[in-house]
Structure formats: structure tokens, C-alpha cells
Amino acid sequence: MCIDAQMLSAYLDGELKEPYRTQVEEHLEYCSACRHHLEDMKALDERISGAAYPQEELTRKKDQIFQLLDKKYFQEGKKVSFIRRRLEVSVPAFMTAAAAVVFIFIGGFMFFGTSAEQTGDILPSFAVQADGSNVRYVANEASLDSFTLEEILHYLDSKGYNVDISIKGLQPLEQAISEAE
């Protein structure tokens, strides 16, 4: 009895396990029909594998794509994110520190007043010049409170200022429309 074609196919691929392998080999010794069959199969196999695309054509962009990936994941990926992370942390931290300094500075005036003595505690060099003898109060007689809004606007207008006034919570109509679009 001749060899099953499927077995022959597996034999051709070197995937046939013992003891079948030896049996097939023994059979092939004396059976020319099976030998022919195997030869045909081998020829077909070579023909099929010959249809593979040539490697040099397929790998034309190999290095290019690798460099792209390398850049994306191994170079920029790591370094940029490292820098970005530093920036993300350091900028707000710096801002917070600056804000804290300003807050304490202003807070000092707010809570302790601005008498020359206490100013001297906070700003010694300024306090020397700014005590009662050389500071003149200019807004004692008439403050802004003693003028109406119209008067102030009229005054500013007469001085050549262009003043825009908006009301809190209200948007100019054109702007609201353009934002809706």
C-alpha cells in the first residue's frame, strides 16, 4: 500500500515523526510511484516558495522605519518626556514660590499697617526716607469718591483717553455671537 499524500506532504516538510518517517523512507526505496509523487510535490513547493517577494525590495524602508520608531520611542520619547516632566513640575513650583513671597510681603503691610516704624522692620532702607516728615498726603481733600462716573469719564475723555467700560457678567453682543459660531 502506498503512502498517504498528506503524510508525504508532512515528510517533505521534515515534520513527520518516527516511526512513520523511517517507514516512509523505506517505502520510497522501492516505490517509484511515491518517489515521483514526492518529486512533484517538491517541485511544486519550490515553485510556490519562488513566488516570495524579493527581500531587498521588501526591506527598502527597513532602516528608515526603524529610525522613525527609534526616534519616536527611544530617543525623543524618553528625553522629551523627561524635560517636559521637569518643566511641568518646576514652572508651577516657581510660580507658587514667587506668589508666596508676594503674599507675605503684601500681607505684612495689610496686617501690620504701614507706619514708618513697622515699615522699617520690613523694608529698612525705604523706611529711612518714608516717615511722616517727607510723605505728603495728596488725596485728603478730594478723592475719586467725590466725583460721579460721568465726571470721571468726561475728564478722561477730555484728556484724550479712550475708555471702554464693560459690566461684569455681560458680554458684548457681537462677541457672544462669534463665540457661539
Partner: protein, 177 residues
């Protein structure tokens, strides 16, 4: 040796060892070199992004082949080109990819086209198996891992694919002569 997909040296090694293989396999599914290159790149990106560890280089290869194959099949399905695939291969520029062939190799080039056409006409389950077998040089065990089927199943499908190809190719010869 263990492979970590986000390790640069490991990545490089796996890339070098498998790039050509992946393009080859994908190419036989999509029949367009640019698309094949894109999908191969995508497969490697996923390989990195998934940040996985493989027990060996072979396992990384199986994973990559599996992913690349699925990407290619999805691409085909999305683009609904499967029906006209045979036509596509026919139209596909043997010029573009085989242009380096001289006149001497014209017959070989023609043979290649015929075989590709015959393979493209196979049902998908047979096509993938025979492609992995013939073009990737994988053994039955590797193919079974890539496709997630049993080794016996691989053996049967390789045989059936060969049988069909034999019929298709000898029929063509009869047509010609």
C-alpha cells in the same frame, strides 16, 4: 533569552530579525508594498507600546506575526478588496516589484505571478497557512502558535493548500498550451 519590548537593544534585535518576514507575510495578504510597510510599522509600534516581556525571541516573533497578520486581514476587510484580490494581483505591477528582473528571468517572473494569483484565490484559512509555511520558513509548530490552531490542523491545511495549488497551477498550464 528574555525579550523586553521596550528595551532598545531587544527591540532592535527583534526588529532586525523579523522586519523582512513581516513585510513578506503582510505583502501576500494586501499585495501593496506601501500598505505592507505601514502595517509592519504598526505591528512594531504595538509591540513597543504593549510593553511586554517574551520568554524568547521566537515568542516575540509569533506575537508579531500574529499581530501583523491580523492588521493585514483587518485592512483587507475594512477596504472590502478581498473580492477583487485576484484581479489586484493580476494588475499588481510585476513591473514595480520585479522590475529588476532581466529578460532572462521573465519566465520566472511570470511563474511568480501565476503562483501569487493561485495563492490569492485560496480560501483564507488555507492561504495563511501555506504562506507562513512557504514564505516565512516557519515549521508547523510555529505556524500553529501564530494562528492559534493545532499542529495537526496546520499539517492538514498545508496539504490541502498544496493540493489546491497543484490543481490551479496545472490547470493554468493546460489553459496556456
Amino acid at each position: 533569552m528574555e525579550i523586553k519590548s521596550t528595551d532598545r537593544d531587544d527591540f532592535r534585535r527583534v526588529y532586525d530579525a523579523n522586519y523582512g518576514l513581516l513585510v513578506q507575510v503582510v505583502m501576500h495578504i494586501v499585495y501593496n508594498l506601501e500598505i505592507a510597510e505601514d502595517l509592519t510599522q504598526e505591528a512594531f509600534e504595538r509591540f513597543y507600546v504593549k510593553n511586554m516581556t517574551f520568554p524568547s525571541e521566537d515568542d516575540a516573533r509569533y506575537w508579531l506575526l500574529h499581530v501583523a497578520k491580523n492588521l493585514a486581514l483587518n485592512h483587507i476587510r475594512r477596504n472590502k478588496r478581498e473580492i477583487e484580490m485576484v484581479e489586484k494581483v493580476k494588475r499588481m505591477p510585476s513591473v514595480a516589484i520585479d522590475s529588476r528582473d532581466g529578460a532572462k528571468e521573465a519566465i520566472e517572473a511570470e511563474n511568480r505571478e501565476e503562483v501569487r494569483k493561485a495563492i490569492a484565490a485560496l480560501p483564507e484559512n488555507l492561504r495563511l497557512v501555506i504562506q507562513l509555511k512557504e514564505f516565512s520558513g516557519l515549521d508547523y509548530k510555529s505556524i500553529s502558535k501564530v494562528l492559534g490552531i493545532s499542529e495537526t490542523n496546520v499539517k492538514v491545511r498545508v496539504f490541502r493548500a498544496r493540493k489546491k495549488l497543484e490543481e490551479a497551477l496545472s490547470m493554468e498550464e493546460r489553459d496556456v498550451y
